[in-house]
Structures are given as structure tokens and as C-alpha cells.
């Protein structure tokens, strides 16, 4: 078990990266400009790539270097580029009608983090790991999950939805690197490729939305009810 006997430097490095990613999730939550979302998402993905490499180095999992490279290339480069192209094509640069003000969104996000901390410290205590990097990783994983759902619920631009889903997955990826670094390589790589396909599908659908429905805002999607 990697986290059981971790040297203090590595533990603080992991914690630093986890907390920085959580902060970036808050940057996304507080911003109105789609482009800022995208930069924050790309930065978060880079951090996760660095985390993978660090876990690989300290835990002696050489295959994680490959994951780190793939994460940086796909999540940190290719995905943001694809989404950037969609933004340019759609001429949508910001959320126009917010359902939730960014400031109130931040407050709700903070409550979500507190909830996540409560859950993870309980599990950490049960496993006899309180105060370790495990609790932090679990907290960040759960709170990024909740923040992602908050973004999905409070935003209505199609692109914000895509980014919200990617934040959900980023949270899982980040937590998984620390909690289960030994997860088989095959699964991780397939999930990475899977994400690429997901975004390609989303891109295509956004285009359909634009041409056949005439809007990319979910507020206008109200033909099907009941």
C-alpha cells in the first residue's frame, strides 16, 4: 500500500497537487467565461498528469509514467483543443443567463466540500488512516464530483455541460492515482480513449443542436416534458 509508508515530502507534494486541483475546480465554478473554464480544466489535467508521474516515482509504478504522458497529451492538450474549436465555431463565449450567480455557486461549492470532508474523514477513521493523504485524496475526489454536478445543474450552455462532465471524471482520475495506483494499465488507457470518443460525440451533438434546434442552451430544450 503506497499511502501507508509515504515519505513526508511525497505526501506534501500529493496534497499540494490535490488541493491545487480543487482550487482550479472552484475557479471553473466562479467564472462566467467559457474560455476561463477551459484554461482551468487544462491546468487541472496537467496537474493530474504531474501527480501520476509523482505517484509513479515515489510508489515505484513505472507504468504510471505512460499514464502521465497520455493524461497530459489527451486531457491537457487534445481535449481542450477540441473544445476550443467548438467554442470558436459556436461564437458562444460566456454564460448569458445564469441560473445561479457565480458567487452563490462558490458558497454552495464550499458546503459541498465540507460534506465531502465529513464523508471521507469517517471512512478514513474506519480504515485507521485519519490524517493521511488518503483522506485528502478522498475529499478532493468526492468534492470534485459534487462540484461537477453543481456545474451541470447550474449552467445551461452545452459546453458548460461537457466541461462539467469532464470535471466529474477528473476528480475520479485524481483520486484513483493516489488511492489505487496499481489499477491495471489496460483499464486506465481504455478510459482515457473512451473520454476522447465522448468529447468527439459531444462535439457532433452540439453541432446538431445548433443546426436543428437553433440553440445550445439547455433552457431552450423544453419540447419533451411529461
Amino acid at each position: 500500500m503506497l499511502t501507508a509508508h509515504l515519505n513526508p515530502l511525497a505526501a506534501s507534494l500529493f496534497s499540494l497537487i490535490a488541493i491545487a486541483s480543487l482550487l482550479l475546480a472552484f475557479v471553473m465554478l466562479g467564472s462566467r467565461w467559457l474560455r476561463h473554464y477551459l484554461y482551468a480544466f487544462a491546468a487541472e489535467s496537467w496537474l493530474i498528469g504531474i501527480l501520476s508521474a509523482a505517484v509513479g516515482f515515489y510508489g515505484n509504478y513505472p507504468e504510471l509514467y505512460l499514464i502521465a504522458i497520455l493524461t497530459v497529451v489527451f486531457r491537457g492538450g487534445l481535449l481542450p483543443y477540441l473544445i476550443f474549436r467548438i467554442i470558436r465555431r459556436l461564437h458562444v463565449s460566456r454564460e448569458v443567463h445564469e441560473i445561479l450567480q457565480p458567487s452563490s455557486g462558490l458558497v454552495i461549492g464550499a458546503l459541498a466540500v465540507i460534506f465531502a470532508l465529513g464523508v471521507s474523514s469517517r471512512i478514513g477513521a474506519e480504515l485507521g488512516m485519519s490524517g493521511t493523504v488518503v483522506v485528502l485524496a478522498l475529499t478532493v475526489m468526492l468534492s470534485m464530483k459534487l462540484l461537477g454536478f453543481l456545474m451541470l445543474a447550474a449552467r445551461h450552455e452545452a459546453l458548460s455541460h461537457i466541461l462539467g462532465l469532464l470535471v466529474l471524471e477528473n476528480g475520479i482520475f485524481l483520486g484513483a492515482q493516489i488511492l489505487v495506483p496499481g489499477m491495471p494499465l489496460l483499464i486506465e488507457i481504455v478510459i482515457l480513449f473512451d473520454l476522447l470518443i465522448v468529447v468527439a460525440c459531444f462535439g457532433l451533438l452540439v453541432q446538431y443542436l445548433m443546426t436543428h434546434v437553433g440553440t445550445t442552451s439547455s433552457l431552450e430544450l423544453r419540447r419533451l416534458v411529461g
Binding site: P184, I191, V213
Partner: protein, 493 residues
């Protein structure tokens, strides 16, 4: 032998996709898809006979076929066959001649992913298979390119991807729990998880299970995560609706069943099963409310799917030999019956040129054969004897009465009666009420569209009248392999 059959089931649709793309001819693609579905069905029909108590594992342990998997594969293959026959008659009505090869390629791809899902032995790969079903079927839902279809497809992919990501989180937690027992790196097979479960931390296990349940429950259409289902089922072309409802939902349900057996092995208390029962009851309530006041004909069928997934969830939640047998019997009955209902609804929608129940009238006078088949199907799907769903719903009720949650069985019976009245009332209006202004719809339904309705109804009648001893024994094997877990009175703290 079993390995060859699995290969056939996987290769038939895969080859069909390849040939359809290479040929690129609309007329040919329907036939290629039909042939693939026949081959897959024949192979899947033999599968349960060959797979009995012991599971067969292939390809370095990534593929498993056990009694449960073979059963779900059979359900999916039946619907794939019926929907492929129906598509030959139905798809030309859409006037999308040049895009038909794309449709059939995607259709075969969708069938392929639903057939492969139950065979995954690795929890991570199972997740990926479920994710792939979403990606392929989204484009089938959006196929008609109407604003409604695109809207349905968008809601479908967003809601289901969000839900499925919860299942991924649950999967990671299960892996983590296992890694504390087995060691940092292991193959996350169902058997490995079940062996490790008794030594895992119970809180972690239950948290993981609840996340997985919500995640795959979204995909299985359990309320309150069902919101994508009525839209996607009603706006896709009819063969796709049948495949979504009859095949895909089961493929997602099998994941819940497998994880439940892992949690059972740990003896983690009644919470997982109670949650499943509660989701089943909520699904029945939501379905009852929306069926009574429904206006869209395919949405009516879609909410009926929510209802039946709720019934299956109840059967699985009650557990025991009776509960599992009822749930699995219900799966095949629902697959047959819901295909029949969607086929009837699709044919009527095209004939009357409307999606509204109010626009369809005097069905039995205008379409005597299709009308009779559809009405028989409606009687069957509401759980009336002598059809298969009566037998399976009764079995699940009996299973429920033996458990501590007998209240759930009573609530279930009450809600089923409400749904019976509400559902058949719509059919009374469509069949016997004389409209104010008769638009005099005349026409005929293609034999390709009538044949699958016969093929669905006759076995359904057979399954209702005669429940073979061998099938009963087969379900017993499955329940035993799953660990005989149940929500039995007295066994809960």
C-alpha cells in the same frame, strides 16, 4: 464450444457493421443486419443450454459467461432479432434512404455493445461497455434529426454520462477496498471482488455499492434517475426504442445484480437491498403517475419500461431463489412484450401520422390483425393472465411476502393495479371511442412489421401458461451462484 458461440455472437454484428460500411447500399444493409441478428440469436439461444452451473472464462479472464450472463445475452439477442425484422419494414417509411447504411451500422454496433456488456468479467471493462452503449445509441436516438430527437439525444447523453461517472467512482472505491485486502494490483473480476468482500471495510463497501447502484440505476432507468428514458425511448426510431428498452436496460441491470452479490458475500446488512427495493417502489410510483396522465403513445411505453425495471429491481432486492427467478423471468417476458408494444406503437404512429394517443382511434376496425396483437400485448404488459408477465410478477410478489419488507409487496400490488387501469384506459380510448372528426385512416402494415409481433406474442403466451421445470432449475443455479442472498425476515438486525 461455448467459446465458439461467444465468438459468433460478437463477430456476427461486428462483421455486419464492416460489410454494411463497405457495401454502403441501403437495401443490402437491412439484410446484412437481419442475417447478423439471426446468427446471434441462434448462438445465444443455445448458450443457456450449454452453460449451467459452472462459469466459463476466456481471453485471459476478461470474458466470462455464466448462467446469469447467458440469460441476459439471450434476452438481448431476442430483442435484436425482433427489432431487426421490424426495421426491414419500418425504416423505409422514414424517407431517409441514403442514411440507412449509417443507421444499420450503428444499430448493429448498439446490439453488439449490449450483447458484450453481460460477458465482461472485469468491473472496469463492464463500465466501459456500458459507456459504449450510450455513445452508440445516442446517435440512433438522434437519427431522425428532428429538433425533438436531438433534444432527447442531448438529455440522454448528459444524464447518463453523469450517472455512469458515479458508477466509475463506485468501481474505484470497490477496487480500493479490494486492494487493501488482496494487494495493490489485481484483476478486478467479479469472483475476486466476491472473495475479497468479507474482508473489506463495510462502510466503504456500502458507499461503493450505493454509488454503483445510482450509476447503473440511471442506465437501467430506475426512478428518480429515469428522466432521460421517456425522451430517448419516444424520440428514437421504433426499432431503436425496442432495443433500448428490451435489451439495454437488462444489460445495465446485470451490473447491479453482480455488485449486489459482492455486497451479499460481505454480509453488509440489509441497507443495499432496502435501497434497491425503495428505488423499485419509487419507479413504480413515478410510472403510475405518468402512465395515468400520458398523452404520447411511445412515452406511455417508455414509462411502462420504468415500471417494469422497478419490478425487476424489487425482485432482485427481495432476493432469494424466488426473487431472482421472478426477476430473471420478468426480464425475458418484458423484453418480448415491450418489443411487441413498441412495434405496435411505431406502426400506429406511422399510420395515423401522430405521436399522440388522442390522434389514434378505432384501431381494431382499421387494423384488425395488428390491432388484436397490440391489444393482447397491452393486456399482457399490465400483468394480466395468461401471459408471462403475470407469472413473473406473481413470483416476485410471493418473494416479497416472505421478506421483512412485505409492505413493499403490498405497495407493489396496489401500484400495479393502478397502472393496469391507467394503461388499459388509453387502449380503450384508442380502440373503442368514436372520434368527433374521423380522418378515415386506411392502410396496411407491412408483413415485416406484423411478423415480429407474432414472434413476440406467441412465446409470451407460452411462458405464461407453462413455466418449464428446466428453466426453474436454471434460475435456481443462478440464485445459488449469486450467493442465495435475500432480504429474509429475521436475518436482518
Amino acid at each position: 464450444m461455448v467459446g465458439v458461440l461467444l465468438l459468433v455472437i460478437a463477430l456476427a454484428p461486428a462483421l455486419a457493421i464492416l460489410l454494411i460500411i463497405l457495401a454502403g447500399r441501403p437495401s443490402l444493409s437491412a439484410w446484412l443486419n437481419l442475417i447478423a441478428s439471426i446468427i446471434a440469436f441462434v448462438a445465444a439461444a443455445v448458450l443457456p443450454l450449454l452453460v449451467q452451473s459452472q462459469a466459463h472464462v476466456y481471453w485471459a479472464g476478461y470474458i466470462i459467461i455464466d448462467a446469469l450472463g447467458a440469460w441476459v445475452v439471450l434476452c438481448a439477442a431476442i430483442v435484436y432479432l425482433l427489432a431487426s425484422i421490424y426495421a426491414v419494414g419500418y425504416m423505409p417509411l422514414l424517407d431517409e434512404e441514403e442514411r440507412l447504411p449509417v443507421f444499420y451500422a450503428l444499430f448493429a454496433g448498439f446490439a453488439l455493445t449490449t450483447l458484450l456488456g453481460p460477458m465482461m468479467n472485469n468491473a472496469g471493462l463492464y463500465w466501459i461497455a456500458i459507456e459504449l452503449t450510450t455513445l452508440v445509441s445516442t446517435f440512433l436516438v438522434a437519427f431522425e434529426r428532428a429538433a425533438e430527437s436531438i433534444e432527447a439525444a442531448w438529455k440522454y447523453i448528459i444524464v447518463v454520462s453523469g450517472g455512469i461517472s458515479l458508477a466509475l467512482l463506485g468501481t474505484v472505491l470497490f477496487y480500493w477496498g479490494g486492494s487493501l485486502v488482496i494487494g495493490p494490483s489485481y484483476d478486478m473480476t467479479w469472483a475476486a471482488l466476491r472473495d475479497a468482500a468479507p474482508h473489506m471495510n463495510p462502510t466503504l463497501l456500502i458507499l461503493g455499492f450505493l454509488l454503483v447502484l445510482i450509476g447503473y440505476g440511471t442506465k437501467a432507468g430506475l426512478a428518480p434517475m429515469h428522466t432521460w428514458l421517456p425522451d430517448a425511448h419516444s424520440e428514437g426510431p421504433t426499432p431503436v426504442s425496442a432495443l433500448l428498452s428490451g435489451a439495454l436496460l437488462n444489460t445495465a441491470m446485470i451490473g447491479i445484480i453482480r455488485y449486489l452479490s459482492v455486497v451479499d458475500a460481505a454480509g453488509a446488512g440489509p441497507l443495499p437491498r432496502i435501497t434497491l427495493v425503495a428505488l423499485g417502489i419509487v419507479s413504480l410510483i413515478v410510472a403510475a403517475l405518468f402512465i395515468v396522465r400520458q398523452e404520447g403513445i411511445k412515452r406511455l411505453m417508455a414509462y411502462s419500461s420504468v415500471e417494469h425495471m422497478g419490478v425487476i429491481a424489487l425482485g432482485v432486492g427481495f432476493g432469494g431463489a424466488l426473487g431472482i427467478a421472478g426477476a430473471l423471468y420478468h426480464m425475458i417476458n418484458h423484453s418480448l412484450n415491450k418489443s411487441l408494444m413498441f412495434f405496435g406503437a411505431g406502426s400506429m404512429m406511422r399510420s395515423y401520422q401522430t405521436k399522440e394517443i388522442g390522434g389514434i382511434h378505432l384501431v381494431s376496425r382499421r387494423f384488425p390483425v395488428v390491432g388484436a396483437l397490440w391489444l393482447a400485448g397491452a393486456v399482457a404488459i399490465t400483468g394480466a393472465p395468461p401471459f408471462g408477465l403475470f407469472a413473473s410478477e406473481l413470483t416476485i410478489l410471493r418473494a416479497g411476502l416472505e421478506t421483512k419488507a412485505a409492505w413493499a409487496a403490498f405497495v407493489m400490488a396496489g401500484l400495479l393495479i393502478i397502472i393496469f387501469i391507467g394503461f388499459l384506459n388509453h387502449f380503450r380510448i384508442m380502440y373503442y371511442e368514436t372520434p368527433e372528426h374521423d380522418n378515415g385512416v386506411e392502410g396496411s402494415v407491412s408483413a415485416w412489421c406484423t411478423l415480429p409481433m407474432w414472434l413476440a406474442l406467441l412465446p409470451l403466451l407460452g411462458l405464461g401458461l407453462w413455466w418449464p421445470e428446466a428453466v426453474w432449475g436454471y434460475f435456481g443455479t443462478i440464485a445459488h451462484a449469486l450467493g442465495d442472498g435475500a432480504l429474509v425476515a429475521g436475518s436482518t438486525p
